[in-house]
Amino acid sequence: MHSLYANVRNEALKIALKKKNWFFLLMTFAIPIGAGVLLANVQSGFGLGVMTSGEYPIAVLGLFTGIFLPLFVFMGAADQFSGEHGDRTMKNVLTRPISRFKVFVSKQAALGVAIAAHLFAALAGSSIAAMFLSGSFRLGDALDWLIAYGAAFLPLLALSIAAVFLAQFFSSGIGALAASVLLYVALRAGAFFLPQLNSYSPTAYLNWHTLWLGNPLPAGQLGSVFMFLAACCILLFTAGFYFFDKKEL
């Protein structure tokens, strides 16, 4: 197991040492603060109370899980797999005493760590911004934020596994990124015209966190969405590994 832990650290370090990833993380932290300050100024200027401090982090999460974080997930998956094939650096790890399965798991796990870091940055940024908005701070709100940001991890992880699966068919990072974005847009847009698509696509459950904020909790719906996302993770992970294992360098 040592090689697995070591490679999770290595893969996480590879993500951390790329400047563009820091830029993305900084944006994840700064955008909610900037938008929050702007919103506070507009609201106080016009005497409006469109959004309270308790609602703001949840609204930010809705925007981030719909657009910004999927983009980061696609970029990360493309870099970790097809990007390394394109740069011919994949052989650097595949010629070490570590099985392909462990390499695959460690890359996926590092991507999961990066997603968690982004969710944490977005939560931190939006919590700071919430202080500028009207409405008094309640402990219950903070608990809701934590639950929502924690719950948002699962659909983003499922999306990353789907992006990793797709990346196996490309030998350049740009190709994989473009295909992931196009497919994502097609699935989101297609759901407007064909609502049945939503039943079969993990992209339809990126707002899963909102279910966790209901009172009472819709346990049945939560359970079925969880099962669907877990099934997506297992199927796409298995299929992704199959193609990764078959790949010749």
Partner: protein, 246 residues
């Protein structure tokens, strides 16, 4: 002799029908085995199969008695590899590249990275981004990465590619040093026969995807040939004749 590399009847054919056919070879402990042949003969294909980057259609490869296809981690535990041109993570320093590789080996002492940087002559530029390295420097970094774990077997594919004369001599000296001091076994491919002559004690000649002759350098020359170049030309001519009659 203790066989470290056992290649049994390995065949790998690509869609264009090129590749390697029915290659069998063994490398014993302490050998410096040179796989010699022109570009496109199949040397890299064979080495890729040996280290699991590619899969054979038929046949089996064992390293240290472990099948590469089924027991990869055990087979590769004492192996260092440099296949084709060395590629580094260009956004990291040369040192960081090595530290990443070192993390996979739990027993490796921390000072080993410094040792290999010194050995390949990259200590002065260790903190520079690998993306700024010249081709020769990248190749030396690749060699440093291959010898990092103090492997008992080193598989080097065209290790002097992109190196100037000084770099080529340096690589040769490192190979000789490790073979002599640490009894490291080498499997080295090259299309430069002079390099093979200077480094190897055993040679395998690859032509058109087949291993057409192998043996100790001295026994291959048998007093009939003055150099490996002469031997190679003779063997290839013989092979061509045999194939045209087949």
């Amino acid at each position: 002799m203790d066989q470290i590399v056992e290649v049994e009847a390995v065949t790998k054919l690509y869609r264009n029908r090129r590749g390697i056919r029915d290659v069998t070879l063994n490398v014993g402990r302490g050998d410096v085995y040179g796989l010699f042949g022109p570009n496109g003969a199949g040397k890299t294909t064979l080495m890729k199969i040996m280290v699991g980057l590619s899969r054979a259609n038929k046949g089996k490869v064992k390293l240290f008695g472990h099948d590469v296809a089924t027991h990869y981690e055990q087979a590769m535990g004492k192996v260092g590899v440099l296949i084709e041109t060395a590629e580094a993570y260009e956004y990291m320093s040369g040192r960081k590249n090595l530290e990443l590789a070192a993390r996979i080996y739990p027993e490796l002492p921390a000072k080993r990275v410094d040792e290999v940087l010194e050995l390949v002559g990259l200590s002065a530029v260790q903190h520079e981004r690998a993306g700024k390295y010249s081709l020769g420097m990248k190749q030396r970094l690749g060699l440093a990465s291959a010898i990092l774990s103090k492997p008992e077997l080193l598989i080097l594919d065209e290790p002097t590619n992109g190196l100037d004369i000084e770099g080529t001599v340096q690589i040769r000296e490192i190979v000789k040093l490790l073979a002599r001091e640490e009894r490291t076994t080498f499997l080295i491919s090259s299309h430069l026969i002079r390099e093979m002559e200077l480094m190897c004690n055993r040679i395998g000649i690859v032509h058109d995807g087949r291993l057409i002759r192998e043996g100790g350098c001295r026994e291959l020359l048998e007093g009939r040939f003055s150099s490996l170049e002469e031997l190679y030309m003779h063997e290839v001519e013989q092979d061509r004749r045999a194939m045209s009659h087949a």
